[in-house]
Symmetry: C3
Subunit: 457 residues, 3 copies
Amino acid sequence: MIDPIPLQVTAETFAENINALGASINYMWILTVSFLIFFMHAGFAMLEAGQVRSKNVANQLTKNLLTWSVGVTVFFLIGAGVSSLVGGGGFNFVPVDDPASWGNGWFYGAVFAMTAATIVSGAVAGRAKLRAYVTYTFLLAAVIYPVVTGITWAGGYIQFGDAVFYDFAGGTIVHAMGGVAGLTAAYVLGPRIGRFNDDGSVNVIPGHSMTFAVLGTLLLAFGWYGFNVGTASILSVSAVTVEDGAITGGIAFNGAVLGRVVMTTTVSMAMGAIGAALVAWAKTGKVDTLYVANGLLAGLVGITAIPDAATWWGALLIGLLAGAQLPLVFELTEKLGIDDVCAVFPVHGSAGVLGTLAFPFVAADLGPSVANAFLAQVVGVAAILGWTVVATGLIWYVLKATGQARVTPEHEQEGLDVSEHGVETYPEFGGSDSVVADGGPTFKTDGGSDITEGDNE
Amino acid sequence: MIDPIPLQVTAETFAENINALGASINYMWILTVSFLIFFMHAGFAMLEAGQVRSKNVANQLTKNLLTWSVGVTVFFLIGAGVSSLVGGGGFNFVPVDDPASWGNGWFYGAVFAMTAATIVSGAVAGRAKLRAYVTYTFLLAAVIYPVVTGITWAGGYIQFGDAVFYDFAGGTIVHAMGGVAGLTAAYVLGPRIGRFNDDGSVNVIPGHSMTFAVLGTLLLAFGWYGFNVGTASILSVSAVTVEDGAITGGIAFNGAVLGRVVMTTTVSMAMGAIGAALVAWAKTGKVDTLYVANGLLAGLVGITAIPDAATWWGALLIGLLAGAQLPLVFELTEKLGIDDVCAVFPVHGSAGVLGTLAFPFVAADLGPSVANAFLAQVVGVAAILGWTVVATGLIWYVLKATGQARVTPEHEQEGLDVSEHGVETYPEFGGSDSVVADGGPTFKTDGGSDITEGDNE
Amino acid sequence: MIDPIPLQVTAETFAENINALGASINYMWILTVSFLIFFMHAGFAMLEAGQVRSKNVANQLTKNLLTWSVGVTVFFLIGAGVSSLVGGGGFNFVPVDDPASWGNGWFYGAVFAMTAATIVSGAVAGRAKLRAYVTYTFLLAAVIYPVVTGITWAGGYIQFGDAVFYDFAGGTIVHAMGGVAGLTAAYVLGPRIGRFNDDGSVNVIPGHSMTFAVLGTLLLAFGWYGFNVGTASILSVSAVTVEDGAITGGIAFNGAVLGRVVMTTTVSMAMGAIGAALVAWAKTGKVDTLYVANGLLAGLVGITAIPDAATWWGALLIGLLAGAQLPLVFELTEKLGIDDVCAVFPVHGSAGVLGTLAFPFVAADLGPSVANAFLAQVVGVAAILGWTVVATGLIWYVLKATGQARVTPEHEQEGLDVSEHGVETYPEFGGSDSVVADGGPTFKTDGGSDITEGDNE
């Protein structure tokens, strides 16, 4: 008697199971990194809150909460559809999409979009009306940012010869876009009272808490691993196909790209902090903490366009330059009379452009010619930032012209927490008394009176 | 000569390898999301610390640390076993379980249980004795919460006709349970001194740091993605079986559910913040930051029962209502003379019930009739919250009757940090001097004297 | 007519696809947990910032930022190569590695290395020069720590009979190494001014913010799940091989180990907090918040050497002892006149040794004899800590002898934020005025004057 032939596996069964595994692995990765990117909002909120005066902290926090809340809703109903429309795919009304795509499509795109949006709030701190800011956020999420992704990631329109504009995780598309939008808005709004003197000299208005600023920096760095590494798929090919009696395709692991991205992101971040520390030390003999923190972030921004492409020395160099340019570019914005409160332009703008333009010179393996690649980068940066400046400037000019952009000087002096939100961030600390301001106390109902520290102790 | 037949794969080898891959993917997902849910303790600690007076911050932080520490140990030795006993599976002594189940069974359940437990501390802030709170936490982790999960997730006892009580990630089982437990405990304890006047009017006692409160909000939102999305398996079917010479079953990816959960969680959170902001704005003309933050959380709670089931417009609507009801319900608790310090009832209680009861009206695909489904939801909510109120009320009444529930008025005025913990949270800030109180200084040994700011500088 | 034979799957196709899936799952796990471990830097920064005076917070934060930035760069260029050299694999210049290995090799190793490095900063707070600290960090990342991992994880040199030194996730290799390095550096540096009196009695210098300290604790606990659980592979075997016409190997899921690690890590952490709380309560009748927080961390450190090996009762016991020893060991360091500002020795040093030495007595399944296993642990601990003490002591003695170790008494009194960094952490709070110190204001350019609170409001 012969052995029975063991049960074997058909190509169809094989493909079904392998493909389900591949799809689940890719999806788990996308969700995990999207959560990390969402977490950057905690980072931005702390980074910005720490860099403003205590009288404006609640305003800054509220702007951060509403950037996410308003922005993501708008991007769900409008923005993602506009991006697809501009990219040549027709308007895509996300609510009717296939549900699975809500995770690896819309949500994944939304956390990038909201990163761009939230950068702006750091530049306009301390004097923008909440309503103006929310209006701008609405338009950014609905149109300004979607146009940028539409012409790049979605449409791939920007080309020069054989080179296509390259921006892996959004060094320019997300960060420089946000940084330049912030700079433009800050320029139109004008500086905070007391920031610049009539003779052109500059006053420092230090933030109220270095601890929150550095906390925000580290929360952002954590989320950034999602931002950069997460943009690399965990599988480069994720499906087997069975056709004409043959198995084709198949699962391929994307390890080399993932490894490069995590390495370049790490060393560029590190060198950004070192570069800023060295410049600070050279200028003053001391190592300003905020330089180091913002330098670390500039190092991250610098590599964001090309973490999958840069050589190891390229990543070290870009980080160093991104950190070192920070104090210099910040001073330049001051010389121009622009009050970019949280230094969003040197951190997100110029650092993002630096890395994007450096692409052809530090790429480990460049397909097109260096000249073509560089020109495609230049054209892309110019198109994205030109559009951002024009659209942002126009909106803030209209807001300003109609008296909607900026709070009154009295409210600015008093602080936006009281005038815009009716709260005090630290009722027990600082020079202010502990009584919540009239008109909008936290959770206050009619008929009661505020309780003071004295009453209670 | 003919080609040799290529080596092929037997069904058994195929199944073994595919099943190991499937098991590892599911397990990785469960661990990742469980870590995120654990992270919510950092969020709760900050959210609550920010909303109490500076003299009670260390007390609030200690409660949070001990909620987790005591609670999870009790849930390991007793609570998880009680849940299984109530659910009809016999008492399950977790330490003798199969080790693999410690990760995707006990630990996964524990992080949900501890979320329910920690909600309570926000309601009883500023006057409950530490020992009373720890006693209650012990009983919550050992019995109160396990009974709730025993009759629902474990036992599935609550039914009406063809409908079974539905609560996907714990909108009522975890959040409303915690919120109602907090409200009950706060009611029995009575309000903080000075919170309400004899004429029924209300005083505001603002928290000491809006920054920590908003930080906590954003940390919680991050963890919530684990809470909601993590409740959806990454694979809906995860094993191939080989039986009677045939391969059955097979890996199936759960993408449609995952995508829906991440979408509904996101837009409901966003609309919660918007809903609360709009109501605040309508009432006072200003946008109270704490409303927006708590509204965002209420939006998350609102969708937690049904993130896998709600339509997109249902999620938008539930978020909006969950946020909008927050200020109104909070004022109602004030009118009832209940001092729910961190607004845990409007955030976790009423918002959780709202979403749970809305289930049949917003579900994309409802099996049973709307009437049956609604009545099953009503019965479930009533059973869970009724049990919670009775058990919680009983414990706190006994603690109160024996003089164990509440610190003395002198200690309450002085602050619980000194009286219960012998520490000051901010020895350098505020009106207090920098000397640590006698009897319990931080890391102090005999024979030394406290150093003051003056001595040191 | 007969049915066509269905297309079947060759062993090679099977192996290729299965192996790609296995590799991607392992890699995703390593990246995810490495991100969590990186996140511990946010935890350390907050934990330490909270435990120092407000005049030294920015200094502490800067040290944390530079520990990561300088350390990880050095570990990329030098340290990882030294570890491999010491371990017998020749010097490994990481930049020329296979890119995929940058993720699951270098980066994974780097986040452990940087954890060891960052522990030291908590011990030397408030008086070490920034340059001295950065110099030490450079040498720790380049040589001291790589030698430790070289003789253990890489080389496996430490043996006694049939037993090899066992340290699963770095209870001694990472934590005790860092804790002992910190103690040594603190001893050589000498205490802060005012910390000890001439009669041997002790002064408490309380930290400036319990809230940041507890926040740091919880952020660390979150990251620790990566540290411990992440050290367990998600797959114990991850590749199929096809050889000599047969399929061998195959995917095996590592669930039992993962489940054990997450359980032991959780209950040891919990019991650490409880143990410290009980000792604090027994000594003073009050539950010191910082004891509870540091006890929770000591419970985590205690189990870190053996989370995959300990029985459930062993994990409970180790946590309890690790927490309970904390106040006692801390007082011992005070009696020895060592000013270990953030208690890094009791938290990371003695707790790490405790768990490492306990290995043979609490292991669920011990291969070698208890005596041999214990002696291997003793030898390993002695070798690692002896090397650490000698190398660290030597470096700090040289720094001290050359006047490079410590700031001047005037600068110490003034605070290191001003003298080393030219910033104030809280310009609006505390006794200090809001003017940024001369010489190094944040983002200040020439020609301007600092703005004071008064000017601005």
